[in-house]
Symmetry: C2
Subunit: 226 residues, 2 copies
């Protein structure tokens, strides 16, 4: 499957740090990105900036409304922090029917600036998304990838993306999506019930970032992969 | 600091899988390992087996009682599963006064064979050890390293050990200990309050091991280290 076969990729709430970083990398990989926002004009301005960073002759980034991002192509990514996800999703049920929806959020709260993982009643943000959008094919991914490293297109990536899902086809599609981005290795993390492990890594990596003054990510060692 | 300057290393409850694996690697690195057990004769038999795998002319492994393991040298490692730790430590308070004590346990329970992290009231196994042994200088480490990979001396290691501690000198000593084992990279994981992140990785890695039919570990990417 080539990049073009993945079709359009929609970023719901795509104007935040993670959405901008992913938009840059996915467009650089040749994909058509639909950057969604409550304010399509703002999305358009940010999309134009990202497009100029990516350059011409590669993929494209277009600013759209969140419903348009949710309804674009086979794949949509929810790229807002956990707290903002529920309100957004409540308006997008129709668009997300049958679509592969990637949950990227890591539920956490900050105590005196230190991030602490929290566990939603559903068990994880990804499982909660799955309950809120019963028609969507929910996949957990991208929890451990730094938004600012993604946005810095000159910085080579060299890390893993843990992918959790119960829908095998959806997982395979997201695996292919991850592979389009140079330097990211997709790792099968098992069922959606495992998403909370990947989500809980985010606050730990943020703590390590501060300690080591860098942007960390993770790799699973001992695997035989390509 | 050379291996000899680390002195003797005691493994409390060292006859289980993690203790045996660490004993083999530490002895192969030239260290003097005191393998502790409630049954010193059993410890002696296992120590003899490990010594024959390691070979002569390197470090040594000797079977001892748990109090002897706790009181050997500067460094002791508690290498029993979480459930067995409290009873063991309750008898070793005197021996552990002022010693660096490495907590390796990952608190978890199994539901239909699937490991699930649990959170001790203290916040983590390492913090609980710290409360139980107020005189010991507690460090969390080795949670993500597979016991069976350690035991297989012919298998090269290539992964990180996350080290958490509040005692800077103790952390430095454990950092040096990790460096003696070829293929392990010590990572400063911050204070002991962060130990639960490392501990919670163990059940996830066990799940990944089953899924991928291998022994996994982790690496933190993006760090500038030696």
């Amino acid at each position: 499957m080539s990049e073009s076969e993945l079709g359009e990729v929609g970023l719901i709430g795509g104007t935040g740090p993670l959405g901008r970083g992913l938009a840059a990398r996915l467009a650089a990989a040749g994909l058509s990105v639909r950057l969604g926002s409550r304010d399509p004009q703002r999305a358009d301005e940010i999309a134009t900036t990202i497009q100029s960073q990516v350059g011409r002759g590669r993929g494209t980034v277009a600013g759209v409304s969140n419903p348009d991002a949710a309804g674009s192509g086979q794949l949509a990514l929810l790229t807002v922090p956990y707290d903002a996800g529920a309100a957004l999703l409540s308006q997008l049920g129709a668009q997300l029917q049958g679509r592969v929806l990637i949950s990227t959020a890591a539920p956490m709260e900050f105590h005196r600036g230190v991030p602490q993982p929290i566990t939603p009643e559903a068990g994880s943000a990804a499982l909660e998304v799955s309950q809120r959008c019963p028609g969507a094919r929910v996949v957990g991914a991208f929890h451990t990838v730094s938004a600012s490293t993604l946005a810095a297109l000159d910085s080579p990536l060299d890390e893993d993306v843990i992918i959790t899902a119960d829908d095998v086809e959806a997982k395979e599609l997201v695996t292919r999506l991850v592979r389009t981005i140079a330097g990211l290795r997709p790792i099968d993390g098992g069922g959606l019930v495992n998403a909370h492990f990947s989500e809980a890594l985010t606050p730990f990596l943020i703590r390590l970032n501060r300690l080591h003054h860098t942007e960390t990510g993770i790799r699973i060692t001992g695997l035989v992969t390509d």
